[in-house]
């Protein structure tokens, strides 16, 4: 098997750890979301939301724990969407010429980058988990050891699909746009509906219809669904809402993300095969 994609992965990770400002901000940002937004909102919500009597055996999840999954998705969303910018810079500053003139299959550029996207996402998720625990996020609360291990594997799988889907999406946009200034604008614009028209910070059920529709077609929603299932369990109360996830729901979410990753990959591959450098 050809493993040249590891070269692309190697370079991207080298730069991730080397450019200290990038490393520092990408690790601090999710922690700040949890600390600032999470703490302030949960101190409000947890006092406002009446303690509805809940069924025996169903756990009540505090808002901070509820939105921690949202922060993970937000972080991965931004990291991966912005990772495509690398390709734009490579194109603009000529580095891509070196890659395109080499025998490296073009798909390897995408695969290499998606690997580094996954790696960055995992590092960030780990930081959120640790920092979140310090602040009071309680994941895997009622889980047995086996359940926890199973859940971690599930989380890894969801992160993998979500991260590469986003990466291929941003790669496609990056390769099609001419300037990195334009790209930054498009990515920022795109990230807003992706994040807010989802169940990241609040339940979908009470959203206005239009936003609800978007959120049902939004990979972010399905990622979070999977994430909550694997961290909080199949039924819990939070934010005044009763959540129940069946195995079918989780499987559907998984297939949705798989479809998302495959379709964005095909788009990205088509785009990168057409890239001409003059």
């Amino acid at each position: 098997m050809r493993t040249e994609f590891l070269t692309i992965f190697w370079r991207d990770m080298l730069k991730f750890f080397r450019i200290k400002a990038m490393l520092f901000t990408s690790l601090i940002q999710p922690a700040l979301w949890l600390a600032l937004y999470g703490i302030s909102m949960s101190s409000n919500f947890d006092s406002i939301i009446p303690k509805i009597p809940i069924n025996q055996g169903v756990i009540q999840v505090n808002y901070l724990t509820f939105m921690a999954a949202g922060v993970i998705s937000l972080t991965i969303l931004f990291t991966c969407l912005y990772s495509g910018i690398t390709l734009q810079f490579d194109k603009e500053f000529g580095l891509m010429k070196e890659m395109l003139a080499s025998p490296l299959p073009r798909s390897h550029i995408l695969i290499g980058l998606s690997l580094s996207g996954i790696a960055k996402s995992l590092i960030q998720t780990f930081i959120i988990l640790v920092f979140g625990y310090v602040l009071g996020v309680r994941f895997f609360n009622t889980f047995s050891l086996m359940e926890t291990i199973f859940s971690v594997l599930g989380i890894l799988l969801f992160i993998l699909l979500f991260a590469i889907g986003l990466l291929f999406l941003s790669s496609t946009i990056a390769l099609r746009l001419k300037t990195h200034e334009g790209l930054q604008g498009v990515i920022t614009l795109l990230s807003l509906p992706l994040f807010f028209a989802s169940n990241a910070l609040y339940p979908i059920t009470s959203l206005p219809l239009a936003i609800k529709i978007i959120s049902y077609g939004n990979p972010v929603s399905y990622f979070i669904q999977g994430l909550r299932y694997f961290t909080l369990g199949s039924n819990f109360y939070s934010f005044g809402n009763y959540y129940q996830y069946s195995s079918f729901d989780v499987l559907f979410a998984l297939l949705f993300l798989l479809g998302f990753a495959i379709s964005t990959y095909l788009f990205a591959l088509r785009t990168i095969k057409k890239v001409k450098i003059v």
Binding site: L14, L100, S102, K276
Partner: protein
């Protein structure tokens, strides 16, 4: 028999309606330094981009190192090295990492990769900059690094697109020396340049391209001689009388008199200058100074593009 490393037949490349390369053919001999000389916008970079598989081939037939460009582009990619016109370096990598990245792109085995990187860093004298970030290198060093990178895969052909553009005279000389050295190791060099002196310095075989067409192709000396325009500058104590004498000589193409000297256009100046001197001396005229100026590639270029422009005009009138 002469072996060719590159053969190009009837290459055409169009950007929309603009014909950047318009039906060119040429051959590069194995082991030579071949110069592709022309002004900016002549079609040099387009040609090099097609040859290096960066642009798709539209019309024509190209073979490099025995591989056909249409059917075996990957084989060609493996057997060539490229130094692009504009810098293509990652500023956040070190010198060594830059080479390491390239070696991995071409899947060179680890041991070989390490050995070659060490060797090349020495050759281009960047030993002390090994762990330096690319962003901290000077322009000349960056170029040397790019040349080293181009050589990492031990290519049969090294493509250099304007290798000394924007460098100071000292760095240019040094880069020229590296190019010659690399060539001596057996690497065929394909060079594009818009500097006449560069083409003249480095290569024997020169192809002059202008507006997408090849207007002259051949060995530098042959090209210059083809102009038949050596000029002899002559000062004597009796210019008037000399003028009359040499006017009768059949080798002389043209004479012009300036207040200080005679400018004599002559074919094959080296051969005819001694005869000229003899003729004048036998008439008892004293020569104060005499020198011969061979045409430069600049003259060749002006000569050919001049004719090219005139032909173009004629065509328009005919229409």
């Amino acid at each position: 028999m002469v072996a060719y490393e590159i053969t190009v037949e009837g290459l055409k490349y169009q950007y929309g309606k603009i014909k950047a390369v318009n039906d060119i053919s040429f051959k590069v001999i194995k082991g030579e330094i071949f110069s592709f000389l022309g002004p900016n916008g002549a079609g040099k970079t387009t040609t090099i981009n097609v040859l290096t598989t960066l642009l798709p081939i539209q019309k024509g037939k190209i073979s490099i190192s025995g591989f056909d460009l249409r059917t075996q582009p990957d084989e060609i990619r493996k057997s060539i090295g490229i130094v692009f016109q504009n810098e293509t370096l990652d500023w956040n990598l070190t010198v060594e990492e830059t080479l390491e990245f390239h070696g991995r792109l071409y899947a060179i085995p680890k041991k070989t990769r390490k050995d070659r990187i060490n060797e090349l860093i020495q050759i281009v004298k960047l030993e002390e900059k090994r762990d330096e970030f690319v962003k901290n290198l000077s322009g000349g060093m960056k170029r040397k690094l790019e040349i080293a990178r181009g050589l990492l895969t031990r290519p049969k052909v090294l493509f250099l697109d304007e290798p000394t553009i924007g460098l100071d005279p000292n760095s240019r000389m040094r880069i020229w020396n590296y190019i010659k050295k690399v060539n001596k190791e057996g690497v065929t060099i394909f060079l594009t340049t818009h500097y006449m002196d560069e083409a003249d310095q480095l290569s024997n075989n020169i192809c002059i391209i202008d507006r997408g067409k090849i207007i002259a192709n051949g060995f530098s000396e042959v090209l210059k001689q083809s102009l038949g325009m050596d000029v002899i500058y002559l000062q004597t104590d009796q210019d008037e009388k000399t003028f009359k004498i040499i006017k009768k000589m059949k080798e002389i193409k043209n004479i012009r008199k300036t207040p200080s000297e005679l400018m004599i256009s002559v074919e094959d100046g080296q051969k005819n200058m001694p005869r000229l001197i003899e003729q004048i001396r036998t008439q008892g005229i004293e020569i104060k100074s005499i020198y011969l100026k061979k045409p430069t590639l600049d003259d060749v270029f002006i000569h050919y593009t001049g004719r090219y422009f005139r032909e173009e005009k004629k065509k328009k009138i005919n229409i």
